[in-house]
């Protein structure tokens, strides 16, 4: 039950302007942008440098990301 509560802990929102400012301010390699959509959506358009990890695979593949790095998700 505690695990379930932790899984759905609320996260902060960022609008497009804030996300752009965040990306501009941080050096590459110090943060991650995570695309949790399907590959077809990623193919049409994605934020440069996004890591594609579709939502159904996220839990199993999350170790491909560094939990210490700030992560912007879309």
């Amino acid at each position: 039950m505690i695990q379930l509560k932790r899984l759905f802990k609320p996260v902060k929102n960022m609008d497009s302007q804030e996300a752009k400012a965040f990306i501009e301010k941080h050096k590459e390699g110090t943060f991650a942008i995570l695309d949790v959509r399907q590959p077809g959506e990623y193919e049409k358009a994605h934020i440069p440098g996004s890591k594609l990890l579709p939502l159904p695979q996220l839990r199993d593949a999350a170790d491909e990301l560094d939990p210490e790095h700030p992560t912007v998700v879309y």
């Binding site: 695990q3 932790r6 899984l7 759905f8 802990k9 609320p10 996260v11 902060k12 929102n13 960022m14 609008d15 497009s16 996300a19 752009k20 965040f22 990306i23 501009e24 050096k27 590459e28 390699g29 995570l34 695309d35 959509r37 590959p39 959506e41 990623y42 193919e43 049409k44 358009a45 994605h46 934020i47 440069p48 440098g49 890591k51 594609l52 996220l58 839990r59 999350a62 491909e64 990301l65 939990p67 210490e68 790095h69 700030p70 992560t71 912007v72 998700v73 879309y74």
Partner: protein, 194 residues
């Protein structure tokens, strides 16, 4: 979900990709990833990048020669000059990695042969795009698209590479592309305002 998995700082992009009004790359995750194996040394990665920069400079130079509109010809000349500056920074970087190494210009990269920034084939890309490069606005748009794809490609390379020092080189290259994009964005704004 990420917070529950131990991620310390997670932000949700409000409105997702539909609301995003910044730079956009396109193509599948595997696009041009055949240019790298994943075990490249930092020096190899700089050589590949140099080769791709060279390719883009050649692309700009070739089109510039055929342009009949002076404003566009000048723009291509400026774009080629930016690539020259970028190449100089790569030569400096290579000198710090391989202090006694050969001149970067003479080394080349087999993987990057015939390719330009973003990993595109120079000849095919020229054929597809040259007919549309008839206004300064379109030329800057194309340059921004190429730099965005290059930024995306370097960061996808970084996801594939295991070598920490090669990753650091790729992050540096990506930061350079971001600076280059900011400059092109200023140009575009000035052209739009004019």
């Amino acid at each position: 979900m990420l917070s529950g998995l131990g991620f310390k700082e997670v932000y949700n992009l409000k409105g997702g990709m539909m609301a995003w009004d910044g730079l956009q790359a396109s193509g599948p995750q595997e696009l041009n990833m055949d240019l790298v194996r994943g075990d490249e040394s930092p020096a190899e990665m700089v050589r590949l990048s140099y080769s791709l920069e060279n390719g883009l400079q050649r692309f700009y130079g070739n089109i510039q020669k055929r342009m009949k509109i002076e404003a566009i010809e000048n723009l291509f000349m400026k774009l080629a000059q930016i690539e020259e500056n970028h190449k100089k920074r790569l030569r400096d970087l290579y000198g710090t990695i391989e202090p006694s190494g050969q001149d970067l210009e003479s080394l080349g990269s087999d993987a990057g042969e015939g390719k330009m920034e973003g990993g595109f084939n120079i000849e095919a890309f020229t054929q597809q795009n040259e007919p549309f490069l008839d206004t300064p606005h379109r030329v800057i748009d194309l340059a921004m698209m190429l730099e965005t794809q290059a930024l995306d490609l370097y960061l996808r390379f970084s996801q594939k590479t295991e070598n920490k020092d090669t990753k650091a080189v790729l992050f540096k290259l990506a930061d350079e592309e971001k600076a280059h994009l900011a400059l092109l964005g200023d140009w575009l704004e000035k052209k739009t305002a004019a």
